[in-house]
């Protein structure tokens, strides 16, 4: 039930992000969603794409430092308290959210959030046991 995320190390300088998108475009890789975390001198770009391995290889060949991480795609009810219910559940179980960001598309009427947990398997089990839909990587890539 895990989703593969590609992280890329970027120096904070003009055009670096465009270099990444150019490589992905050149390899016919479609970005499903992304998030960029930055500090004063570097950034970490996190990507979920349709062809993960192809993207990973193309970036690496172009000299980028790349890392694959497992994240979890969770359906969140698109209504007040939807996200809160999930975070509350995690808090009670003592599972830490390292970071999260939104998926661009919806699944039916629900929003999709991408989570990076400190305990990925524990989190997946907890969510599923509580009837919260977790979307697998293949489905996410095909959305």
């Amino acid at each position: 039930m895990r989703v593969k995320q590609i992280s890329v190390f970027l120096e904070n300088k003009a055009g670096r992000l465009a270099d990444v998108t150019a490589i992905l475009a050149g390899s016919a890789v479609n970005i499903r969603t992304l998030s960029l975390a930055d500090t004063s001198d570097f950034g970490v770009l996190r990507l979920i794409v349709d062809h993960t391995e192809k993207a990973e290889e193309a970036l690496r060949q172009n000299g980028f430092t790349v890392r694959m991480t497992d994240v979890v795609a969770v359906e969140v009810k698109d209504q007040p308290g939807g996200l809160h219910a999930i975070l509350e559940l995690l808090r009670k179980a003592g599972i830490n959210v390292e970071y999260m960001y939104a998926f661009v598309q919806q699944s039916g009427n629900n929003a999709i959030m991408i989570f990076r947990f400190d305990r990925t398997d524990g989190a997946i089990r907890l969510l599923q046991n509580n009837g919260i839909p977790v979307i697998d990587g293949r489905t996410i890539s095909a959305l």
Binding site: Q5, S7, F9, L10, E11, A37, D38, T39, D41, F42, V44, R46, R60, Q61, G63, F64, T65, V66, R67, T69, E98, Y99, R116
Partner: protein, 433 residues
């Protein structure tokens, strides 16, 4: 194996007798043929005949890099150009280049000393040597090349650059000895990994690395990544080129200086006072067999110490410890003396950090600001920003703890640090304006 068993294992007394004889004849010759030396000796009121013992060498004035530059290009040559068969030149990375020349006999001597070096580093005539030192004006490529042939080994004159092709050659030709700068050796490892070639499947036994200072930690890393035994070779074009000194693979603890050809001294770089064995200072060389380009008490600007303890390999020649820095590479940051190699050791104490770094010094107001750029490889990288920031913090803290200097550690992308001619540029000092 010892290439020249007679000369390399001479008892001290016999060695010193040879040194004195050769030194005196060299001094007589430079006094007669090189106007620079005659002028300098006359100024100091010293005659070659005043040197009656090896200790008397202290009476002779030093020669500096600036002296060589002032006599650019051929002013320091001690033979007519008719007798010069080869010309090399330093890279000029730290200023005007210097030019050196060799007679046919010099080339022969150099080849023999390089053969000694390769042999000390584990090579035999059965080996195939992948020589990735640059061929050209730089002495590295041709120096190793002639030595390899002298030894009777097979040499692949691959030179520097075109790294992917080099990896294919290493795979297909099956070389057993690698000769390169240590930073280029690591680049070969990186590229091999990228294209899916493992050094475990290659046939390398020994690597003989030099032409830039490198730390013990870097040796450990090279040995692990390239699956070979790494030894340090020392030389500089002004004195001859590679093969002035080389480590033996048996001890791997300092390079034996071929004392029947070069007399080493260690001096205090500030006062020029001669220091005893074991004390760290600037290395000074006098060549005692060279014909075309003899150097007298040449200040190398390399910082090291000499070790006269007997060596397990059987060679009696004194060893020089790893060069810890250069007098002109030494950074003074807010009054603290720092060599890039010291920073390197501290960086590499953190698991996963590779020796791809660069020190940038700026002056903001009256304050020196040191930035240490460290390339982020896949072992260090994390999708969590916090972890990367913690790494920066840890490296900063370690530098502060060791040297008492606040540095700003900045993570940069791989290959962000320029590698010129296989030599990494370690220091950018923007204070000198």
């Amino acid at each position: 194996m010892i290439y020249d068993i007679e000369y390399e294992t001479l008892p001290r007394e016999a060695l010193e007798a040879i040194q004195l004889r050769r030194l005196r004849s060299t001094l007589e010759r430079v006094y007669a043929t090189v106007p620079f030396y005659r002028r300098r000796f006359d100024q100091e009121k010293v005659k070659p005949s005043d040197v009656a013992t090896l200790q008397d060498l202290a009476k002779i004035p030093f020669t500096t890099k600036q002296d060589l530059r002032d006599n650019y290009p051929y002013g320091m040559f001690a033979v007519p150009m008719d007798n010069v068969v080869r010309i090399h030149s330093s890279s000029g990375t730290t200023g005007q280049p210097t030019v050196v020349g060799y007679t046919a006999r010099d080339i022969d001597t150099w080849a023999a000393l390089m053969a000694r070096s390769l042999c000390a580093g584990g090579a035999t005539r059965r080996d195939i040597i992948h020589n990735a030192y640059g061929y050209g004006l730089f002495t590295g490529g041709l120096g190793v090349h002639y030595g390899a042939e002298k030894l009777g080994a097979s040499v692949i004159p691959v030179s520097g650059g075109n790294t992917k092709r080099q990896v294919m050659i290493m795979k297909d030709f099956g070389p057993t000895i690698l000769t390169a700068t240590p930073s280029y050796a690591l680049q070969l490892a990186e590229v091999a990994e990228e294209i899916g070639v493992s050094f475990k499947d290659l046939k390398f036994r020994f690597g003989i690395f030099g032409a830039e200072p490198w730390s013990e930690n870097m040796r450990t890393e090279i040995e692990a990544k390239l699956n070979l035994t790494a030894v340090d070779i020392y030389g500089l074009s002004e004195v001859m080129g590679p093969g002035v000194a080389c480590e033996c693979h048996e001890a791997k603890k300092g390079a034996h200086i071929f004392e029947d050809h070069f007399i080493p001294e260690i001096i205090d770089p500030k006062t020029a006072e001669i220091l005893p064995y074991g004390a760290e200072g600037e290395l000074v060389f006098t060549s005692i067999t060279k014909e075309a380009f003899p150097v007298i008490r040449y200040r190398t600007r390399d910082i090291t110490s000499l070790n006269a303890e007997p060596c397990i390999c059987g060679r009696t020649h004194v060893r020089m410890n790893k060069v810890s820095g250069r007098t002109d590479d030494m950074l003074i940051i807010r009054g603290v003396n720092l060599f890039p190699s010291q920073i390197e050791s501290v960086l590499m104490e953190v698991d996963g950090v590779e020796p791809h770094y660069q020190l940038v010094v700026e002056r903001e107001g009256n304050l020196d600001v040191l930035t240490v750029m460290v390339e982020v490889n896949e072992r260090l990288f994390s999708d969590r920003v916090r972890q990367l920031q913690e790494l920066e913090k840890k490296l900063t803290q370690n530098i502060k703890d060791y040297f008492g200097v606040s540095a700003q550690v900045k993570l940069v992308e791989p290959k962000a640090i320029v590698r010129s001619e296989g030599k990494a540029v370690r220091v950018i000092d923007n204070r000198k304006k």
